[in-house]
């Protein structure tokens, strides 16, 4: 990485660590805000649609395998499992759509036998798919889906993905098993608000740091002092970006912790068993690793982008003026994933939007591996290219000495 990179990075980190105001604004505040906003939204949804404590959820099941039945029959879950046949399915779906009943599960016949011998590595046929039909407008249905999906997800992970949930089928090519006719607040909350706030706060965390640091160096005349040395500009730019990235990551971590706590707090009261359900139960280690990678790559991208804009600006004020409007763009992109649900690879090529889609997908357990890999890769590539741009700008007399 080079001596210069390290020295510049170390200096940057030391400086910000000792600037309490900046540290608070960039690192602590986003996490607190995310938690506060989610708490508030959570409270509002609970106020809007409460579910009776003693509500028994009606779960219609076609070909319910013994393994899943065992998992779902715990009394605390308050699930009433009603056996059904494929012929009943259309009627039940209508009932769900009309909000008269809660959930329909359709398993392939002999699910347990297939799963027991299924090997994703060698299988010629796709993994058996479970269809979960619900209605996200009806709170009881959304909650029933949440309970069932949480349980099945755990099973899914323990079986290392030997079956799938709600994959598109011939009859349901769009993979939409939600019979709701309008968006549900809870789904909106999880699918739109969370990714949006997560991405937005990573951005605002970086935005609190980068203009001050980069344009600030220009304005205070300390950048020129660096540039008269023999040190490589590429290394200088990289050191600067990496130093800032360190804090941007802390900021992302703050947001992540805020998110974790708010998800824990948002779990509605569903009996003893699920009372302890929190973040770590909803997301697998893989999910968390991916959220982390998205956060790292996105932070890197944001820091580099902001560094380019700040290097271009003459003063901190100017840098803030050009980077603040970007917040709106980021917000729109960050909301996109929850509003437009699609696994189209083309969407993976749109920065910010792609991260949002993937965060939503992780929350809804509908992640597309290729999509998330492209997204993370693209973030890193953009970040590195933009860091190169900063280095080039450091060498440009027009930008440094104009």
């Amino acid at each position: 990485m080079g001596n210069v990179t390290l020295a510049v990075m170390k200096k940057e980190i030391t400086r910000i660590f000792n600037d309490r105001k900046l540290l608070f604004a960039a690192v602590i505040l986003p996490g607190i805000l995310i938690f506060a906003v989610m708490q508030l939204t959570g409270m509002m949804t609970q106020m809007i649609g409460g579910i009776d404590d003693d509500h028994i959820y009606e779960i219609h099941a076609v070909n319910m395998p013994a393994s899943i039945r065992a998992m779902l029959s715990a009394d605390e879950l308050q699930l009433n499992i009603i056996p059904a046949t494929l012929a009943d399915a259309p009627r039940i779906r209508q009932d769900i759509a009309d909000q008269n009943t809660d959930l329909l599960l359709i398993f392939p016949p002999d699910f347990d036998e297939i799963v027991a011998t299924f090997d994703p590595a060698t299988a010629a046929v796709p993994a058996p798919n479970i269809e979960i039909w619900g209605n996200s407008v009806r709170n009881e249905s959304a909650e029933a889906r949440h309970i069932v999906q949480t349980m099945i997800n755990a099973y899914h992970h323990s079986l290392t993905h030997r079956f799938s949930i709600n994959l598109p089928t011939a009859e349901v090519p769009d993979g939409n098993f939600d019979l709701a006719t309008a968006g549900d607040i809870m789904a909106l909350l999880l699918g739109v608000m969370l990714p949006m706030m997560f991405i937005l706060f990573i951005f605002t965390g970086s935005q609190a740091l980068v203009p001050e640091s980069v344009a600030g160096e220009k304005e205070r005349g300390t950048l020129g002092t660096l540039l008269v040395t023999t040190a490589s500009r590429k290394q200088m730019a990289l050191g600067k970006v990496l130093g800032l990235l360190f804090f941007s990551l802390l900021s992302a971590l703050g947001s992540f912790v805020g998110l974790m706590f708010s998800m824990d707090g948002m779990m509605p009261d569903t009996g003893d068993l699920l009372d302890n359900t929190g973040f770590m139960d909803i997301f697998s280690a893989m999910d968390i690793a991916l959220i982390f990678l998205i956060a790292v790559s996105l932070s890197f991208f944001f820091v580099a982008l902001l560094a380019v804009m700040s290097t271009y600006s003459k003063t901190v004020k100017e840098a803030n003026a050009v980077t603040t409007p970007l917040t709106m763009v980021i917000m729109l992109g960050a909301m996109g994933g929850g509003l437009i649900s699609s696994n189209s690879i083309a969407f993976a090529l749109i920065p910010i939007f792609n991260s949002s889609i993937n965060l939503t997908a992780i929350i809804n357990a509908e992640l597309n591996t290729l999509h998330v890999m492209i997204t993370i890769g693209l973030n890193f590539v953009l970040a590195i290219v933009l860091t190169g741009v900063v280095a080039a700008m450091f060498s440009s007399e027009k930008i440094v000495f104009d």
């Binding site: 001596n3 020295a7 200096k11 005349g221 300390t222 002092t225 660096l226 023999t230 007399e397």
Partner: protein
């Protein structure tokens, strides 16, 4: 005498915006801030660039320090071309101006180590140099005080010490006493005198005649980007003061231009 600096037809053209063209009253979109300037200076000498505001002094020095590119011409700094070997040039110069500052948040100690590190100076050599320079500038008691908390004089001392971490052969100093209070200006004057005494080569720019008369061996007069005279101080001044001679040349040059 060994040549330490050989400037040959050094030229800097700036592209002007429409607005700049109007305000400068120039018809062409290009304007030569430094126009085929040539001069030499020798080892151990203090060379002064004298000229009114906007004459092109800063631009010349920035080109010599390889901070901006020359449009034409070249300069050899201790034998290294600013065009072909900018890194070698930077290794050989210390560049100082009041626009280049130290980070208020860090201490002289930190800065010294940081810049020694950036310049790839071995730690033991850097430590010895730091001890020597801090002692010479009386910075010892302030070595661990943040720059932001230092008096202007001590701040300036720290800047001076740090600009020569790498023991450069030439020190280039743009407007050394500009905007400084008298006490700080004295710090800088003493520094320059000491550099001179120790046989270092110095290039400085100024529009202050006193500085030139007290310090400089040779003076180049630059007006509107052109070097109009360059010689030793006694040769330039003759019977008169440097000041009288300057205004004589200045009036002649600007009259010709009109």
């Amino acid at each position: 005498m060994k040549e330490i600096l050989d400037v040959r037809n050094l030229t800097k053209k700036f592209k002007l915006t429409k607005k700049q063209q109007e305000s400068k009253n120039i018809k062409t979109p290009y304007f030569a801030a430094v126009d085929h300037v040539s001069f030499k200076s020798y080892e151990g000498e203090v060379f002064g660039l004298l000229g009114p505001n906007g004459a092109g002094k800063t631009t010349t020095m920035r080109m010599l320090a390889t901070l901006i590119n020359a449009s034409e011409g070249d300069a050899l700094v201790n034998g290294h071309s600013i065009i072909a070997a900018p890194l070698e040039v930077r290794r050989n110069i210390g560049f100082l101006t009041n626009e280049l500052k130290l980070d208020e948040f860090f201490t002289p100690n930190f800065h010294f180590d940081f810049f020694a590190n950036l310049r790839g100076i071995p730690a033991d050599i850097a430590a010895r140099r730091k001890e020597d320079l801090f002692a010479r500038f009386g910075l010892g008691p302030y070595a661990d005080v943040r720059i932001g908390k230092l008096s202007q004089g001590n701040k300036q001392k720290a800047s001076l010490a740090i600009s020569i971490v790498h023991d450069p052969a030439i020190v280039i100093f743009d407007e050394p006493t500009n905007g400084l209070d008298v006490v700080t200006a004295k710090v800088v004057m003493d520094f320059l005198l000491e550099l001179k005494k120790s046989g270092k080569s110095v290039i400085l720019s100024t529009h202050i005649f006193g500085l030139l008369e007290n310090l400089c061996d040779r003076v180049g007069i630059i007006i509107n980007g052109k070097m109009v005279a360059c010689d030793t101080v006694p040769n330039l001044a003759g019977e008169n003061s440097l000041e009288a001679m300057f205004f004589d040349i200045y009036n002649k040059t600007t009259k010709e231009a009109v």
